[in-house]
Symmetry: none
Subunit: 212 residues, 4 copies
DNA sequence: AATGAATGAGACTTCATTCAT
DNA sequence: AATGAATGAAGTCTCATTCAT
């Protein structure tokens, strides 16, 4: 009696098809140019059927966002499970985050740049106290805390540092995405290495020096 | 025979009016919501007349972009004219760049995020050799070069550094714009200070240390 | 072999369910906003199944109408069975008719205002000869006839009178329904009393006076 | 230089054309079935142009309503300017009101039956105190007041009477409209005469008798 | 120089209905 | 008996653009 399950599966498959098509369009034309019609045309169905699988356009966009955010979080937390010293952990995490993001450039852009309240409340990370409320930032914060576990550096300063690292990393990723076609793979890797070795590491050291 | 010039002038004035109105709308509703109709309504002319002054909507958007880019460049080069030592100059320049950008958040976003070939070719800065071709990056590069004038650091490394600084700064600005409503003025200043003092300075020092 | 009957019964039950749900929607959103989908959603079945029980939407609407008309007739004839004098009977009947109608305002409106031939042929009452053909009007006519059994008033005049009473009563009911929220219960009762005591009674008396 | 005026006129003419077409559709399909598309199809223009002349569909409906209401008020007040005695004035007014309404049956129905708050607040007449707030009812009230100027009938009773007359008249008009095709012109006139002579007059007399 | 009129395309969404399963 | 999938038509509205005047 797998008939029910088959139907379920087919339904999910079609939903996936719709979402993937929407993602495709987003990639090509930007999120604001996703339209029910375009999706319908591509999958060669009538526009109406889409409302059979999703309540409205917002729901589709919503799914697209959730997807992007989830992928990033997954990638990030996988980097946490190493047993390296905290400095090394920080480096690996940063690298992982950059890599994951670059593998889904369009979703990343869409999610991170969206400024509708509902979304920005999830992606925001620069406000005071964000280190406690934002999962991704919290990870970063704890890593830094561990690095300075002996020194007496104020938590607020560590939060600032985490935020600056996050924002800088975001900037590098975004520019790499935007300039996609213009930067060679080799140079891109050099940039990432250099960013981690001088910017991130530089911050950590500078902070350490200022401690005394 | 000043009649011709007067006409010319009036023409330019009206073009300005149209562009300013478009900029206004961009600020309020985002670049994707600029419409010929909205512009026409605001200046209380008919939509058709706009085609008298601009070929089509794309031309208007193009002008808007060029404008934004120019403002940034102007602000930046003004920071160059100080006689401080290069380290201080770098700090001032970075700060100035951040400040200018934050004063025109929407134009900045629009210009920097646009990925149509025509525009990205102007804003791109991460490709190998950008330090020579991009005015803004060139300034940064020269400043760094001056800092390490005694050491024997390879130009390619300095370019990498300039690019990483540029990308990081871009990231901080972007996130500050996106999270506008959520970050207090005080915290925002702390972030900028911390960014300059630890991230930028940190890079410079780390690079110096690695020299030997 | 009660199996066939059970199926029959179940079928009728489901038809009832569908009709009741349709009536519900009519009450809430008006007759024009009844949609197959809405019915299906409420009874938690798929839209398609409804076509199993009714040919199409028109058939459902048709049933709804018939129902309304029946309710009114039932209520009316119950008022007939008193043994009062005819004047009193007329008053009671009128009052009963008003009350019953106000208890099912939406059905009443829908039925009475519908002007598709099929329906209007049932509700029409103003044409010459209606007193004989229309059950409801016939009752009224007979009541009036009884009142003037001694005088020599022409049947056509009595019919006119019955028709005017019917139309006036209809007007009062309709306005009370339309202005529902604006008329207090007390004032509504006053209006009904006043209508019966002055308008209906007034007609009857005026007609009696003109007899001689 | 009547060029401006000509354009103005043409504009108004086209607006009229649209409104008339809308009215036509209302007549045929009911107010709820007016659609921009239908209007456009009939006048053989594209749907978009309609938005050139009216802000949106609501504006069109609004105009339709205002039109209907105005016609009625005009017709009514013209009946007031006679120098007859009040009883005769009442008869003439009633007759005039019926006649005017029957000349624009569809607008009348549409306006009177519409129960959206904005409209019903204009057409409502049965609530306590309506005689003061509703122009049409006020006229009726004053006429009755004049008839009983010698007797000591309470204003609230006169208001009730006015309301009952208004509602009854409304009922007669509505049924005549609905049963349009079924009632001969002769019979229709008989009904109107009979209504005025027995129902309206009957009320007036009955009220007068009850005074003592 | 300026405008009003007009259009065709496209946006989102709801609906009644059919059909294979 | 019941359903999910699918469609085509229709609904309102906005837009960029063209053209005659």
């Amino acid at each position: 009696m797998g008939i029910k399950e088959r139907k379920e599966r087919e339904r999910r498959e079609k939903q996936e098809l719709i979402l993937n098509t929407a993602a495709e369009i987003m990639k090509e034309d930007g999120i604001d140019n996703i339209s029910i019609r375009k999706i319908a045309n591509r999958i060669e169905y009538s526009p109406a059927i889409i409302y059979h699988y999703f309540k409205d356009k917002d729901e589709i966009i919503g799914h697209l966002m959730k997807r992007g955010y989830q992928k990033i979080l997954d990638g990030l937390s996988s980097a946490l499970e190493t047993r390296d010293n905290p400095e090394e952990k920080l480096r690996k995490m940063t690298r992982k985050y950059i890599e994951v993001s670059l593998q889904m450039p369009d979703e990343y852009m869409t999610v991170q740049l969206n400024s509708t309240p509902g979304v920005v409340s999830q992606t925001a990370s620069l406000f005071k106290g964000a280190a406690e409320k934002k999962p991704a930032l919290k990870i970063l914060f704890q890593c830094l805390r561990e690095i300075y576990r002996d020194g007496n550096i104020d938590d607020s300063v560590i939060e600032l540092t985490a935020q600056v690292i996050a924002a800088s990393t975001f900037g590098l990723i975004m520019r790499l995405i935007i300039e996609q076609g213009l930067v060679s793979a080799e140079h891109r890797n050099n940039l990432i290495d250099h960013f981690i070795n001088t910017a991130v590491d530089g911050m950590v050291q500078t902070l350490g020096n200022n401690r005394e």
